[in-house]
């Protein structure tokens, strides 16, 4: 347990410090959201309607961009071999690494989203709902993305491939995340229905992600 806690702290410190991972992701998020009005026009009604979707797409892209270094740094410096030989089960190690990665890069996105939602002219209730769905949904993105990160760990430039592999798998999270955020806006259905499914998807990704990523890492290490 202490080993996993130490790993969490190490990963978190590294992610926060090296290359300013946390700030970088949030900055990218800000830029994506800023660029959208240039594309669709500064119509505030339109922006408040598509706001939750924009925030979700921004968070999705920001998460994916930060993921390619999840295992690659460890592979480059040989840390991955130590982890593979270590006593802690690889699945748990991957889980802890994902949690630390999320705490360093996903959480800042969630914190920044209410601020960005103001730019999108969203109503307070929609801001709250979107932030809540991002809080529940971004871990699912990180866990799913870990599979792609593990599969592309041996590649020099796996970033784009990682996004291609992972994006189709994130479709359900995206659908239910945006749906629960817009449910409170339109009131066409209870917020709890899609939100419960989103939470279920998150828990499912928490199991499947580490299992599949660990399998991929074992075979990559052979």
């Amino acid at each position: 347990m202490t080993a996993l806690l130490a790993l969490f702290l190490r990963e978190w410190r590294l992610a926060v410090r090296v290359g300013g991972g946390a700030l970088m992701g949030a900055l990218f998020f800000l830029i994506v959201v800023t660029v959208v009005p240039f594309g669709v026009g500064p119509d505030l009604n339109l922006l408040s309607r598509i706001g939750p979707a924009i925030l979700w797409i921004g968070a999705l892209l920001a998460t994916l961009l930060s993921l390619d270094r999840l295992f690659q740094v460890d592979r480059d410096d040989g840390g991955l071999d130590l982890i593979l030989m270590g006593e802690s089960p690889l699945e748990l190690v991957v889980l802890v690494k994902c949690l630390a990665h999320w705490a360093a890069t996903g959480l800042p996105l969630v914190v920044a989203s209410p601020l960005l939602a103001i730019f999108m002219n969203m109503e307070p209730i929609a801001i709250g709902a979107t932030t809540l769905t991002l809080l529940v949904g971004t871990p699912a993105l990180t866990f799913t993305g870990a599979i792609g990160a593990a599969l592309t760990v041996t590649l020099k430039r796996g970033g784009l491939l990682l996004a291609i592999l992972v994006l189709p798998l994130t479709v359900p999270v995206m659908i239910f995340g945006v749906s629960s955020a817009t449910a409170v806006l339109y009131g066409n259905m209870p917020f709890a229905t899609p939100f419960a499914i989103l939470a279920a998807l998150g828990l499912f990704a928490m199991v499947l992600g580490p299992l599949a990523a660990a399998a991929a890492l074992r075979h990559a290490g052979e």
């Binding site: 592309t152 399998a215 991929a216 075979h219 990559a220 052979e222």
Partner: protein, 243 residues
């Protein structure tokens, strides 16, 4: 005769050489019967007119896009669990064929949709899930092509294939749910039981014909892949001997 008896590639090649001509003949015959029924016997739909002829290829393509993926998922299990030497050859060869059929399902769906809906593309639940499946096929092929070492590429794509297989039902469910949210109903409802026998029989024959076609192309591609790996080994032996 068990599957493991054909773990030896040489024996597998022998079997393919024996079976392939017969299988090819049966495939051609099934296509002849199916196409004859479609073009000379099947009635026009009272609503869609002759456009319904597109259904006889669109539905088999959609079915095959799933069937190819199931073949790949089975092969992926064979690679990871039983380490069957031919499983990864089978998975690797099924991917481009599956992508081709999925592309055809999308293209014929679009060509069918234009006269029916008035647009080339509708974010219909079925078409959208097939589009996501198509992207997954392309991702798998990209992964196989990018990792150079064949053994490592096989393991990585096997993991991804299985993850995809687990996720496909979830994606399908989400897309259906999303679709009912945004548009109440779509134009084609191909309810399985409501279709008349005069259309169902040609459809089933066409589905069988395309499935046989898949098996023929898959076996031929597997034979090529086995030879390719044999050549790779021989080149490595040659290079090692030259030193």
């Amino acid at each position: 005769m068990r599957l493991i008896d054909y773990a030896n590639p040489t024996r597998f090649l022998g079997l393919v050489a024996k079976v392939l001509p017969w299988l090819g003949a049966v495939t051609a015959a099934t296509f002849a019967v199916g196409l004859w029924l479609v073009f000379f016997r099947a009635p026009a739909d009272y609503q869609q007119g002759e456009t319904v002829k597109i259904m006889y290829i669109h539905v088999p393509f959609a079915w095959l896009s799933m069937f190819c993926y199931m073949t790949m998922a089975g092969s992926a299990l064979g690679t990871l669990v039983w380490r069957h030497p031919l499983a990864d050859v089978s998975a690797k060869c099924a991917a481009p064929i599956g992508a081709a059929f999925t592309f055809l399902a999308l293209a014929t769906g679009s060509l069918w949709g234009k006269p029916m809906w008035g647009t080339w593309w509708v974010w219909d639940a079925r078409l959208t899930s097939v589009l996501v499946l198509f992207i997954m096929y392309l991702g798998l092929i990209a992964l196989q092509e990018t990792i150079e070492d064949p053994a490592r590429a096989a393991k990585a794509s096997a993991v991804l294939t299985l993850v995809g297989a687990i996720n496909i039902p979830i994606i399908k469910f989400s897309v259906d749910w999303w679709n009912t949210l945004h548009q109440p109903s779509s134009v084609f409802r191909m309810g399985g039981s409501t279709i008349d026998a005069s259309m169902l029989i040609p459809l089933l024959i066409m589905a069988v014909a395309f499935s046989l076609l898949f098996v023929v192309v898959h076996l031929m591609a597997m034979r090529n892949e086995i030879l390719r790996r044999r050549i790779r080994t021989m080149r490595m032996i040659e290079a090692a001997g030259a030193e």
